[in-house]
């Protein structure tokens, strides 16, 4: 930036930064003496130094910005609080659709649950299903002979009657 710009102060280029330090009193004793030795023998640096020093005197006579006062800090803190409130409101707005959806889902689930309970408690009882009655399980004699198969026609019936008659005698 500064190095690209050619501006003739008349000073030796390598001394410009040192002369700035010299004006500001930032040089130690030996360095200050070395710079002083230079500008006393270099007309360009001497002239530039005098101009820069006069410029510094001129500018230092101007008043710096005034302290804004204690009200400023209060106003800043009020602005911070307002920003925090806005931020909190913004957070609420962001989650609002999700919250709304959640409530709708909860309402639907409640209605569904209510219907299920109603069905189980009342309406379902009207059409009670037949309840199977428990019967004692008959004891099965595994050693008993297998029962004869049922006759399928008239001849088999007659044969069975005849067999039973023979058995009785």
């Amino acid at each position: 930036m500064a190095t690209n710009e050619r501006f003739a102060t008349g000073a030796c280029e390598q001394y410009e930064a040192l002369l700035e330090d010299y004006i500001n009193g930032d040089l130690s004793g030996a360095d200050a003496r070395s710079v002083a030795d230079h500008w006393q023998t270099c007309a360009g640096c001497r002239s530039a130094l005098q101009r820069a020093a006069a410029g510094a005197r001129l500018l230092r006579a101007a008043e710096p910005s005034a302290n804004p006062g204690p009200n400023f800090a209060r106003m800043v803190m009020a602005r911070i609080r307002a920003a925090e409130v806005d931020e909190a409101a913004g957070r609420t707005n962001f989650w609002q659709p999700f919250v709304s959806l959640g409530w709708r889902f909860a309402a639907t689930a409640s209605v569904a649950l209510g219907l299920l309970v109603t069905y189980n408690a009342g309406w379902g009882r009207l059409s009670q299903p037949k309840i199977a009655t428990a019967r004692p399980i008959e004891s099965i004699d595994i050693l008993a002979p297998e029962p004869a198969p049922a006759p399928v026609n008239r001849d088999e019936v007659l044969m069975m009657v005849a067999d039973n008659s023979h058995a009785n005698f």
């Binding site: 930036m1 500064a2 190095t3 001129l58 101007a62 302290n67 400023f72 911070i80």
Partner: protein, 227 residues
């Protein structure tokens, strides 16, 4: 803590009192740490400590007194919102001034405004006042004179390239050091020194031109009066 009333030790006003009247004045690092932990009063104390320099910095860059307060408030708001991310590797002031400079650039870019540039001739009285300062190295003593001097100088500074104007105002009027300027404007220290040295020469050229113009104007009006 000896000056702090016992019944105020837990409240925010009490913290403010502690920072101001305690046996040991809390340093910026401590206040930053407290602010990071949510102590709002600690941040308020940081605002009080740095408000004048932030005002000077913002005023030096914007050159628009009406907007300085608003931008300065915005700077502290941003600092508050970002303080948890500040790792304290740099000084709080350096971090804050960087926020201020960025905020100024944002402001100028959003508003699409350039800092005011106006140049007007100096009156004879103004020239003689500046002459007194340049030759005698004596700041004006009359109340309000320094403010008037600043006003005159701002008009002369407006003729310089923008960065030169900012550097001169921040260094010579607002009292920032070369090191601080290099850090907050992201420039090399040597570059800042060279620019400052050259800018001082430039402001003196402007001053001489004004003095010459004022002298010519005076001669012309005197000549006109004789006719």
């Amino acid at each position: 803590m000896t000056n702090v009333p016992k019944n105020m030790t837990a409240s925010a006003p009490a913290l403010t009192l502690t920072f101001q009247q305690g046996e040991r004045k809390a340093d910026d690092r401590e206040l930053v740490r407290l602010s990071q932990n949510g102590t709002v009063a600690a941040f308020e104390e940081l605002v009080r400590r740095h408000q004048q320099r932030v005002f000077g910095l913002v005023g030096g860059i914007l050159h628009r007194p009406d907007d300085v307060e608003d931008v300065a408030q915005q700077v502290f708001l941003k600092a508050y919102l970002g303080i948890r991310r500040f790792d304290q590797r740099a000084a709080f002031s350096t971090w804050l001034y960087k926020i201020a400079v960025n905020e100024c650039w944002d402001y100028l870019r959003k508003r699409k405004v350039r800092p005011l540039v106006y140049e007007a001739d100096l009156s004879e009285e103004q020239v003689s006042r500046l002459d007194g300062i340049v030759s005698a190295d004596r700041p004006p003593e009359r109340p309000g004179a320094r403010a008037e001097t600043r006003e005159i100088l701002e008009r002369m500074l407006a003729t310089l390239p923008e960065q030169d104007r900012q550097l001169l105002v921040l260094k010579e009027i607002e009292g920032f050091s070369v090191q601080e300027l290099a850090e907050i404007l992201k420039l090399n220290v040597n570059t800042v020194k060279v620019r400052l040295f050259r800018a001082r020469g430039r402001i003196m050229d402007t001053y001489r031109r004004k003095v010459t113009l004022a002298g010519k104007g005076h001669e012309a009006s005197a000549g006109h009066g004789k006719e």
